[in-house]
Amino acid sequence: MTSTLELKEDKMLKVQFVGDDDVLNHILDREGGPKVKKERAQLLLNTQKIIKKPENELEEDDQEVLKDQNYVEVLGQDVQESLKNGSATDGGNKVYPFQNRKHPEKMAKLGHSASDKSQLKNNDKSEFLSTAPRGLRKRLIVPRSHSDSESEYSASNSEDDEGVAQEYEEDTNEDILSQKIQAQNRVVSAPVCKGTPSKKMKRKKTSHLVEEYFEAHSSSKVLTSDRTLQKLKRAKLDQQTLHNLLSKVSPSFSAELKQLNQQHEQLFHKWMLQLHLGFNIVLYGLGSKRDLLERFRTTMLQDCIHIVINGFFPGISVKSILNSVTEVLDHMGTFRSVLDQLEWITNKFKEDSSLELFLLIHNLDSQMLRGDKSQQIIGQLSSLRNIYLIASIDHLNAPLMWDHAKQSLYNWLWYETTTYSHYTEETSYENSLLVKQSGSLPLSSLIHVLRSLTPNARGIFRLLIKYQLDNQDNPSYTGLCFQDFYQQCREAFLVNSDLTLRAQLTEFRDHKLIRTKKGTDGVEYLLIPVDNGILTDFLEKEEEES
């Protein structure tokens, strides 16, 4: 504090040295009756300015005048009084400049100088010294002439200011304080609610997709609230409850939806025609197209050989598609590779032109089928003259799957079939849902598998579960080492040799109930790849039953 004071005095002195005569002139020139009060009100701010930027003094005559007065006042003992008066009379004025200032750390500085004058305790000052540099640092980054950056800036500074305000809560200057806090609150609260919109506005001006992308991904920090679903008691729903709940919802706009569907159904004949003429058909648009295709199948394809492929089925693969095609062709035996199989099919279809096959693929863009190789093979299938393909895609970026070569293989005709139907079937598989639905399927499968095992095997598994649950807070837990496990099992009279234990473990592994990992020391570690919450549930259920 003392150092700053000294500094201040140095500067003041310097100022006086330079401008004594000028000051007098200006006082004579400018001292009008009504102005004095205003200048007095500004007094605080101007002292600040002078203290911070002595280079300004030559430019601004007014300030010199004020500084002169200020100097007297600072030296005088009833600073507090004058301060109080100024703020009391011209409170509005004061709040206004606060908000308008381009450098909100003014606030801190203001408080600082006030504290100087009012001679507050030292600990307060140390607080300021710690906060001020932050403000200064920011000021270096943000040019003070940028008035439009003000709101963001003050928002970022709000912490400091708030701290300052709180420091002064004990201060005797309650008027000033309340005003200050109000002002800060205004400054702080406005950007908080306006922050994003103002950014958005700016973005819109320079609306450019690329820029938007980088803006969205530039900062690694994303500001979202930290609330989690755990606090909501209805967060977790299993498939069945979800289904039950949703069945209560009465569908809206059923008339319009029906009309939409009817429009699509009128196209069935056209589709058949175009399929026969060598085109393949792809359906896109919002809403599940499964029902539509199903209706197409039942109305048009009853007398034809056709294969329905659920692309959204998690276990689907090109191999299984080809297998069902060969099944149609009554082929017994196996193929060495998928390509061989494809070749065989191609030859078969080329030989027999009376053979016709319809392929209906729901979700050609599903996780399992979107790979390059799968698409290539399906494309080659569809390019055969007597295989007719009608498929649906849903994913936003689905068309990216196909390059020119594949597109020419597919020979698509695009049909927009927006149905607004819910993707009930497509999202019903466990892996396509968000985390909160997980649980029911592994839990039930756990119970099912374990019920079919011997009591000893169940005991072994329970041991492993307990061990894993005991270690659930240990972040470096890699699993239970086989030897330890064997020991424990022996102690519990569950196995009598490590061969029997291994036999049991093979059983578990076949059902994907455990996973083994070789540690760095070459020892096998056993792990249950199931969520701990589910394991706890499982144990509870087991206990209930026994």
Partner: protein, 712 residues
């Protein structure tokens, strides 16, 4: 449902055999779909007929265009090969024989068309050069083993094609699966020696030329081969060249530089490369358009918008002729499918015959045609009554109108070509360089109303004599080639113009030097001097216009102008043009060049577009709270940045939805309602995930990541 299961994803439906045999003929799908109007069978047959004709025409064109290329290729193969075998006795001392003759075939970026070209090339080669033509694709040959395997198996197949009786022995060879260059050359030796004496008669032509035909290997997509495979193969086969005469053909999509990028100097020096450039696809397009659309051979025509879309897809998307043809096929199909009167879209005599058999319904259809209505309005009142009431007079009128339409087209294309001759070489090409651009403009509106046309006339008035004459010559050829009666005298007129230009040469010189100079300058004062100078200037400028050549040029220009104004009327001024022109550009674009992302966004952002419910109508950027759940969730997610907190999202969703439900739902308890709303939210979120807007993330608990950016 029969097609959903938790254990399998494929469901085979195979109706019993008898049922399957009674399969529905394709025509049935043609008529049942839309308003079951008559003539659908006829229409479908016409469609198939025209399409077959067009298809074979395009194939013929393709062949024709490739002919040059193939001829030069064959020549190259023959020479390189004969060189190889002339010296077959002392091959060991010929260092040059180490070089594999290679043809680098630059095919252009339209990869999809390559297959067709290469297939016909294979055919041509097999007929003319050698039975051993093998083509390999990069995706079949990830390594050397597969490469050789494919090569050998295809070679053996070639063999089988030539002589099927040797099938058994081939099978035997295929059994022992040791593929190496040694075995390959041994096989080659055995085959050529064995077959030589008993060569089939057909093949004697080339077998007499060469005792053993070369093996041609086509690498379809050279760029995508692995460098290593390619290098190894070239090095190995160059070692075996003396016993296994190999010729390589590289299919290149980009530029010949790629050869050197893929192969180091050591390897590329083993090749004796010659470049071949295939025809540019734009020229190809021009020819196809010329032969398919700018002709009266095919009655079917495209409207301006449709043509624009097809050429745009071609120029901006793929450069693929095949896709263009596909678009043409689709528009043909759509035309016959949707326009009942397309039954008249066939050659003129047939159309006239069909007019006789039009049903009353079809006659009504004709009366409803806008172009026909306009036509009727112009007729006298008696005729109007006759046309509108009597089917017979309508049919007669239709016949004459169809004939008019035919004549119109004949003249149209002649004049169009003629105009193209004039405009195609003007500076800056105000009416386009290609005839298709000119055609588009002429289809769109009266061409003479456009600014470009005015500037063309202006430029024509500035042409030099020899240029003008060359153009006239070309035009003359165009007109001569046709047999149109109406424009017969036009050709004569052009001939006259040409003759006049010729005679101009003699008379011209005398003309220029006459007059003018007679008025010598007399001594006058300044005022008179100025006056006389002005007079002279005026005189000069007027006399300049008066040059005989200029007069003639003016005549030619106005002649062309009059031709254009008379014959290049846009087709929609012609009655009954709807029968021939396909104009539904919108459907074409929808089916060929769809925009699934836009459709998705529209459906989510503005459900009113699809569900015409007044409750959903809203101003831009807002979404009513009664909208489908997924729309609300989507709208809310747009307001977030990269990560979305599920809790906040769900609460916002709940707020919006409850606000909507306040009015009707008060019977259920609030707790239950909340649960239902939460379930709806979950469904909406998982649907958005399926659509690819969000994905689960582990960056923060209970957050999802947004996969798109940009605000609402």
């Amino acid at each position: 449902m029969a097609t959903s299961s938790v254990s399998k994803g494929c469901f085979v439906f195979k109706p019993n055999f008898k049922k399957r045999k009674i399969s529905v003929p394709i025509e049935d799908y043609f008529n049942k779909g839309k308003n079951a109007s008559e003539d659908s069978k006829l229409r479908f047959e016409t469609y198939q007929l025209i399409w077959q004709q067009m298809k074979s025409e395009t194939e013929r064109l393709q062949e024709e265009l490739n002919k040059n290329l193939f001829d030069s290729l064959i020549e190259f193969l023959q020479t390189s090969h004969s060189g190889l075998w002339k010296n077959s006795e002392d091959w060991s001392c010929e260092i040059k024989l180490r070089e594999i003759p290679t043809a680098a075939l630059i095919l252009g970026v339209n990869v999809t068309d390559h297959d067709l070209t290469l297939r016909s090339l294979t055919e041509v080669l097999q007929n003319n050069v050698t039975p051993y033509v093998v083509s390999l694709q990069a995706k079949d040959c990830p390594d050397m083993k597969h490469f050789l395997q494919k090569l050998v198996s295809q070679l053996m197949d070639c063999k089988v094609d030539v002589q099927s009786k040797e099938k058994e022995s081939v099978q035997v060879i295929q059994k022992n699966v040791h593929y190496s260059m040694d075995s390959l050359s041994a096989w080659y030796m055995s085959v050529t020696q064995k077959t030589d004496p008993k060569m089939p008669r057909k093949k004697r032509t080339f077998s007499s030329q060469w005792q053993s035909p070369p093996v041609v290997l086509i690498l379809k997509d050279m760029e995508s081969f692995t460098t290593k495979v390619l290098q190894d193969f070239i090095i190995i086969s160059s070692q075996h060249l003396h016993e296994f005469p190999l010729i390589l053909i590289f299919g290149i999509a980009t530029s010949p530089v790629v050869i050197h990028r893929l192969l180091p100097h050591a390897v590329s020096s083993l090749l004796c490369i010659e470049l071949f450039q295939s025809l540019s696809c734009k020229e190809h397009l021009t020819t196809v358009l010329d032969k398919l659309l700018l002709t009266t051979q095919f009655p079917f025509k495209l409207s301006e918008k449709v043509l624009q879309i097809l050429t745009n897809i071609f120029l901006y998307h793929d450069f693929s002729i095949q896709n263009f043809i596909k678009g043409l096929q689709l528009s043909l199909l759509e035309h016959f499918y949707s326009q009942p009167l397309s039954v008249l879209c066939c050659n003129l005599p047939e159309a006239k015959r069909r007019t006789h058999f039009l049903s009353a319904n079809q006659c009504e259809n004709i009366r409803r045609l806008p172009s026909f209505r306009r036509y009727v309005e112009k007729q006298s009142s008696q005729k109007q009554v006759a046309l509108l009431t009597s089917d017979r007079s309508l049919k007669e009128e239709t016949q004459s109108l169809l004939e008019n339409l035919h004549v119109y087209h004949t003249n149209y294309f002649l004049v169009l070509r003629c105009l193209h001759q004039f405009t195609s070489s003007l500076p800056k090409y105000p009416l386009g360089r290609q005839i298709r651009e000119l055609y588009c403009m002429c289809l769109e509106k009266n061409i003479w109303d456009s600014e470009e046309y005015a500037s063309v006339l202006q430029l024509l008035r500035l042409l030099a004599k020899d240029e003008l004459m060359a153009m006239l010559q070309n035009c003359f050829k165009v007109f001569q080639s046709s047999s149109a009666k109406e424009l017969g005298n036009t050709a004569k007129k052009i001939e006259e113009f040409l003759a006049q230009f010729q005679s101009l040469d003699e008379t011209k010189e005398e003309e220029d030097t006459s007059q003018l100079q007679s008025k010598g300058l007399q001594k006058t004062d300044l005022y008179h001097l100025q006056k006389s100078l002005l007079e002279m200037k005026e005189l000069r400028s007027t006399s300049k216009r008066q040059t005989k050549f200029e007069v003639l040029r003016e005549q030619v220009v106005s002649f062309v102008d009059s031709l254009v104004r008379e014959y290049l009327l846009p087709p929609d001024t012609q009655p009954l043009h709807e029968t021939l022109y396909f104009s539904s550009a919108h459907t074409l674009r929808q089916h060929l060049n769809a925009a699934p992302r836009i459709a998705l966004h529209t459906a989510l952002n503005n459900p009113y577009y699809y569900l015409k419910n007044e409750a959903l109508r809203s101003e831009e950027g807002c979404i009513p709270n009664v909208a489908p759940d997924i729309c609300i969730a989507y709208k809310l997610h747009l307001e977030c940045s990269r990560l979305i907190n599920l809790v906040d999202w769900s609460e916002a969703f709940a707020t919006v939805v409850t606000a909507a439900e306040k009015m009707d739902a008060n019977s259920v308890t609030s707790e239950e309602r909340n649960e239902v709303i939460h379930a709806r939210f979950i469904r909406a979120v998982s649907e958005l995930e399926l659509l690819g807007f969000i994905k689960p993330t582990k960056q923060k608990t209970d957050h999802v990541a947004r996969l798109t950016w940009g605000g609402c």
